[in-house]
């Protein structure tokens, strides 16, 4: 009879420190570095916008949630380096599925994703983010809008997913910087690949902020 054994097993779980759930809004789990959250529109180090209004993101979007219209840069006050810039840029977050295909499609790394997913709206108009909300601020960080719940420094690595992608999809393409600088951050460190850190020959190889391999458990309090 395994009956008493089962009862004892259940009883023994009482009072354990490690819990699989947490006091959610107060304590939060560490997010994976490549989590797909709300988008940002990046800027170059000199403050110019990266978006060139090419509409590739809108074209690739499977949910058809991106609306882009490009326009010629005004000669006296250019918004982006080059000929065209994103005149209108809207993302409807009631439709977005956070697949990150727009990030992969973007030729200038203008659109990337933050780790933020905790935001809500009270009407449909608020769900449509325009350029005003999406473009990073003068420090190069995502705008913290009042209805969004940002945590600590989770807007630090806004483009981690993209940085790990090799141009030809080669698995050994690791530890190499293949992107332009960003406002406030400069040229970001390359992301660690799946092989060991010693393989890379480039001196720009720096171990990025890694998360522990073990699944995060609740124990310490993080705000």
């Amino acid at each position: 009879m395994g009956l008493p054994k089962g009862f004892a097993l259940v009883f023994k779980q009482k009072g354990r420190k490690r819990r699989v759930t947490g006091l959610y809004p107060n304590e939060k789990r560490e997010k994976p570095a490549r989590l797909h959250g709300r988008h940002v529109l990046n800027r170059y180090e000199d403050g110019m916008e990266k978006c060139i209004g090419c509409e590739l993101c809108a074209g690739v979007c499977p949910a058809k949630c991106i609306y882009v219209r490009g326009a010629d840069n005004p000669p006296d006050a250019p918004v982006s380096p080059g000929e065209r810039y994103g005149f209108v840029y809207e993302i409807n977050y009631l439709r977005c599925i956070h697949c990150d295909l727009c990030v992969e499609a973007c030729p200038t790394e203008a659109i990337t994703e933050t780790k933020l997913f905790e935001f809500s709206f009270t009407n449909r108009d608020d769900a449509i983010y325009t350029k005003q909300e999406l473009v990073v601020d003068d420090d190069g960080r995502a705008q913290r809008l009042p209805w969004e719940h940002w945590l600590g420094t989770e807007d630090d690595d806004t483009s981690a997913w993209m940085r790990a992608t090799a141009p030809g999809g080669r698995a050994d393409y690791e530890g190499k910087v293949g992107w332009s600088g960003e406002l406030g951050f400069g040229v970001r460190n390359p992301e660690q690949g799946q092989s060991d850190a010693e393989v890379a020959d480039d001196e720009t190889v720096i171990t990025p902020p890694t998360t522990s391999t073990a699944p995060p458990m609740y124990g310490k309090k993080r705000r």
Partner: protein, 401 residues
């Protein structure tokens, strides 16, 4: 006349306005107590189960989430109540009340404390002491079934109907064992009044736990009562009536809002009531040691201690139900039926016969040891014979083939 309805000394004299007010007050207090107890129990259950499953459980509404149940109830109260177009509307509206009313009425016969005096009137700390108390309990648990059954029947939908069919079959199977387990106590007590049963289990010294309280003299009946009471209240592992994986929500699938809340209230009320019945019948009810340093007429010994002991035992049993809920998986339907019909009913019936014989033997002055042993051997032999007659797993299938 009053002796028919109640043996309470409050009702034996002239019934004036004060008496009526006292009775109304008692009713309100017991009703409020049960409501608060349900609120507390649901929170307690969720918290303890969460602890046993390495979770945190309700934490936000009030300190330690203790107001979670109130918040849930309030939410359900303001929700839209929908009625399926195929429902039998009148019965559909009636069913939740049929579920909740017996749950409350059954609790009214539970002695919560000793004898106290309010405004010069001596009275029991108990809503009603019926001379047929235990029969009343059986009647109420029978009527409670109608709530479940009619809810499933009137919903006009297949899953509730299946849940209702299961409910009636399950309750029918376990009502017999449940009743016989109670008879195991009645043979010793010789009275149906809950107050009378409790009075016979009064506290003398620590030995009372084993001699006076009926759980040990009627140990088999006690165990069968616990199992059957779980089945009667559709408590896991006997919650086939509302098995989510098979029947969506069972009999309350089509219920929403406040009517749904009433079914849940009734379900948890029933768990509390059954635990209270177990305390009353087997664990001495409010009997327990009083504080020796104080006079026996001191208000702490008269009011507080009996209620404290009752609540303490109730909490112990309720913790047991939560532990069972956290541990055992749901029984399969044939396991449920086998346990009820092939084991519990036979064993409880033989136990009743055995204890009746021992009881008669004691009255007649026979040798207790010899009668007990002889009757025990006879009972085991009868059960062995029955066991041989009962078709085993697979035997019926072969016959059909």
């Amino acid at each position: 006349m009053s002796a028919i309805f109640a043996t309470d000394p409050l009702l034996s004299g002239k019934i004036d306005l004060t008496v009526v007010l006292i009775v109304i007050g008692k009713t309100l207090v017991v009703f409020g107590l049960l409501m608060v107890a349900v609120m507390f129990y649901v929170w307690f259950m969720r918290k303890v189960i969460a602890d046993m499953q390495n979770r945190i459980g309700p934490s936000t509404a009030g300190p330690f989430g203790i107001l979670q149940t109130a918040a849930d109830g309030l939410k359900l109260f303001f929700k839209e109540q929908s009625v399926p177009s195929s429902a039998d509307r009148r019965i559909f509206f009636l069913a939740p009340y049929l579920a909740i009313l017996p749950a409350f009425l059954a609790f009214s016969i539970i002695p919560l404390g000793g004898v106290v005096s309010i405004a010069g009137h001596k009275t029991f700390v108990q809503l009603a002491d019926l001379p047929i108390g235990v029969l009343f309990l059986l009647a109420m648990s029978g009527i409670g079934l109608y709530g479940v059954m009619l809810a499933g029947w009137s919903s006009g939908s297949k899953y509730p109907l299946l849940g209702a069919v299961r409910a009636s079959a399950q309750l029918l199977s376990y009502e017999a064992a449940f009743g016989l387990a109670i008879v195991g106590v009645l043979i010793h007590s010789g009275t149906l009044s809950t107050r009378g049963i409790v009075a016979q289990q009064a506290w003398r010294n620590v030995g009372s736990i084993f001699r006076e309280w009926y759980w040990l003299p009627a140990i088999i009946a006690f165990l069968i009562f616990l199992v059957a009471a779980l089945a009667e209240t559709n408590h896991p592992p006997f919650d086939l009536v509302e098995a989510e994986q098979e029947l969506v929500g069972g009999f309350h699938t089509e219920y929403t809002g406040m009517r749904f809340a009433m079914f849940f209230l009734a379900e948890f009320m029933n768990v509390i009531t059954m635990s209270a019945i177990a305390v009353t019948l087997f664990l001495g009810g409010p009997s327990g040691p009083s504080i020796g340093a104080l006079a026996s007429t001191h208000w702490v010994n008269v009011w507080v201690m009996p209620i404290f002991w009752f609540m303490f035992k109730l909490l112990l049993l309720l913790y047991g139900t939560v532990w069972i809920r956290a541990t055992l998986p749901r029984l399969r339907y044939d396991q449920l039926m086998n346990l009820g019909w092939k084991f519990l009913i036979e064993v409880s019936f033989l136990w009743v016969m055995w204890s009746a014989l021992v009881r008669v033997g004691r009255d007649e002055g026979w040798n207790t040891f010899a009668t007990g042993l002889g009757a025990g051997v006879g009972a085991v032999a009868v059960y062995g014979l029955l066991y041989l007659c009962i078709p085993k797993r697979g035997e019926l299938l072969e016959e059909i083939k």
